[in-house]
């Protein structure tokens, strides 16, 4: 787990803890199903891998976007991976083309119904 992921979840957890004591390190770790010491290592940016399942559980517990947390943890969600694997060349090319596109344009990408020859 990288320092960015660790510091991100620590920041989010501590912000929640200020309003709600159920977001202590121990309690979050317990709900997610990992040892408190392990969560501490993660938050300190030490090598401590988390499975996709646990990253998702952590994001749900903290109310964070799953894809963002997965990306920060160095993963891509398995459903997205499966989609890319169906047509790897096409999707890789698409993603490269979109790399420079502004956010609002990417968010509004649509698939058109094709009008053919008739």
């Amino acid at each position: 787990m990288n320092a960015t992921f660790g510091s991100y979840i620590r920041e989010k957890r501590e912000a929640l803890k200020e309003k709600d004591s159920r977001y202590s390190l121990r309690q979050v770790a317990s709900r997610v199903g990992i040892e408190p010491s392990y969560l501490s290592k993660i938050e300190r940016g030490l090598p401590a891998p988390l499975s996709e399942e646990k990253v998702r559980a952590l994001s749900l517990d903290l109310g964070e976007n799953q894809d963002i947390l997965l990306a920060l943890s160095g993963k891509i969600s398995s459903d997205v991976q499966n989609i890319i694997r169906t047509r790897p060349e096409l999707f890789a090319d698409l993603i490269r083309q979109l790399k420079e596109m502004p956010d609002h344009a990417v968010l509004r990408l649509v698939r058109e119904v094709r009008n053919g020859n008739w």
């Binding site: 096409l90 698409l94 596109m101 609002h104 344009a105 990417v106 968010l107 509004r108 990408l109 649509v110 698939r111 058109e112 119904v113 094709r114 009008n115 053919g116 020859n117 008739w118």
Partner: protein
Amino acid sequence: MIELKDDKLVYTFPDTTTPGARLVISFVRTLRVPDDGKSYPLPPGLGKFPLEHVDDYRQRLPQSWIEHGGVMLPLYQSEALWINFTSSYIEEHAARYPFAVKVAAGKINAVNGESWSNSLSRDPQDYMVVPGQPWLDGYSVDKECIRQFVAMPLGKGYSAEGQITGREDAGGLQIAVYPMKKEAFEKRWPRRKTAAVVSECVAVKFSMMDDGMGLAGGGRIHQEIYEDCFKLSEWDPTASSRCFVHLANSQTWRDITGNTPPTKAPSAREYSSHGLPWFEYYSDQKPLPGSHVLHKLKSVIQPGKEKRENPLPENDSVEPGHIIAINRPQSPERVREWPEQNRYERTSGPDGPGDD
């Protein structure tokens, strides 16, 4: 531009219309009204047909479908459908944006019975105007009457295409939409307050079975197609979008898509026996006279008898006892808010199967 969203075709014209202008079309499951010479009220909506891009199943579809492009939906033989139209409400102008819509089945125009053309015609009028025309249930055969769209296999001569042209090459449905010119809309309905910012749309185009089905004319339904009260010059002929809607047999839908098709609709008798409602729609708009070409269409029953076939099982006459009136008091020129939603989806408002 046409998008497929939630089993609806969404037509937008970002460069040429007022921001937010959008026409939504869906295809609705319904009862087949008895083909018995009587004219019936509007049957209910029983949910949208699923729609899929033909491009997603290229390996399992006829080459002609891939050439046409477009979408497909599943229908059982002798099943009926109606088409729902909803145009978006433009808040800043306090009006729904008008669109001219052409619908053909087997490339035979369902309004005037002529062969498909890629333009709008007034003589006779070959299109409908939305808002104003909330639904289309079939071929316009008389001033206040349509013959219901009923799916039949191609190659047997049941469809309007087959009867009129002698061939059944196209099948399916063809739909073209023309927006009102932005200047014409904004002149008729001037802006009332600052327009909201609309995000840009960036369109990205990426791109074993029989030939599908066509649409025959089934039982008669009391429905009017309304005359266009706008000037022809107010429509934008350069901005049309068209789509081919293929009709796949529900029996093969799972083989094509892997998805389960909708179940068969109840018969009219079964539906009415439970006291469930039919509908009547009242409007002060002037109706078109009906197509003299389509007036001569034989309904499904007639060619069936000639072929010694029984194409319409469960065709018993019924007496619809429960009819709900949907009133639409204003003409399209004076459109403001739609009436309240009807829970059987036969709405004249924005929350039906073709909603915003």
